[in-house]
């Protein structure tokens, strides 16, 4: 039941954020994206398959970073990118970073 609730909330916040973005209400879109992130994190706590949630997290953080950049909130953009970096390197480029050691 929890999974169903979190999944539907993630979808809802995604839709709401997209609507707000379409209307150029970037602040509200960011608010909904943050709520989406909150629910993705909750879902990843109860879900065994962490891969898809991590990918979703990366997508949402990228959107938040992009919207903050468009709003000229450069500090928030940078914060998002800082959060993104370990998420991306931990997920996809772990082999690359270990190869560097050689």
């Amino acid at each position: 039941m929890e999974t169903e609730i979190y999944s539907s909330l993630i979808k809802l916040y995604e839709d709401l954020a997209a609507q707000q973005e379409n209307h150029n209400h970037y602040d509200q879109a960011i608010e909904f994206l943050n709520k989406q992130l909150e629910n993705i994190e909750n879902l990843s706590k109860i879900n065994k398959d962490k891969g898809s949630e991590k990918k979703n997290q990366i997508d949402v953080y990228l959107k938040v970073a992009n919207l903050n950049f468009q709003l000229k909130h450069y500090e928030e953009t940078l914060n998002c990118l800082k959060i993104l970096q370990p998420l991306i390197t931990g997920e996809d480029f772990s082999n690359v970073s270990s190869n560097k050691d050689f």
């Binding site: 609730i5 979190y6 539907s8 909330l9 916040y13 839709d15 709401l16």
Partner: protein
């Protein structure tokens, strides 16, 4: 505000009942009207004889079946009416698990799209209403044990 059917529930209804309905056909309409009256009567009988919570739960189940049928025929107003009736009943009798379920389904009524379908064109107010019901169900799930303890101590 526009109230749209939820395609997932419609598909579920068709799958569960293994039928391909033709709403234009009078016999189907007659059958549905008769079935609706029967189900309403059953739900109300359960309520009248509600000596236990299980009777209330049976009544809620019947109302939810009617809700699903309403959605199937794109009758969103009545679907919301019956879903709301269930929310009121579950709250009145402190049936927490069924309450969580009916809150989720009420949220589905306003969601405007299936799990994978786009909802960009959906009404923002409807999506916010959907969010409110889903958030309420989330709060109940997260505090389920505390709520049960609270009611058992009354």
């Amino acid at each position: 505000m526009s109230y749209k059917k939820t395609p997932d529930l419609k598909a579920k209804y068709e799958k569960d009942h293994k039928i391909i309905p033709i709403p234009e056909t009078r016999t189907v309409v007659n059958y549905e009207e008769k079935k609706l009256q029967q189900d309403l009567k059953q739900a109300e009988d359960h309520l009248r004889n509600s000596h236990s919570n299980s009777q209330i739960e049976k009544s809620i189940e019947k109302y939810m079946e009617i809700r699903l049928r309403c959605l199937h025929y794109q009758d969103s107003w009545n679907a919301i009416y019956f879903n709301h009736k269930c929310i009121n009943l579950t709250k009145r009798y402190n049936l927490i698990k069924p309450l969580i379920h009916v809150l989720i389904t009420m949220g589905d009524c306003f969601a405007g799209s299936g799990k994978s379908g786009p909802a960009i064109s959906a009404n923002t107010n409807d999506l916010i209403l959907s969010m409110i019901f889903k958030e309420e169900s989330k709060t109940l799930v997260n505090n389920y044990n505390d709520i049960i303890t609270f009611y058992s101590n009354l």
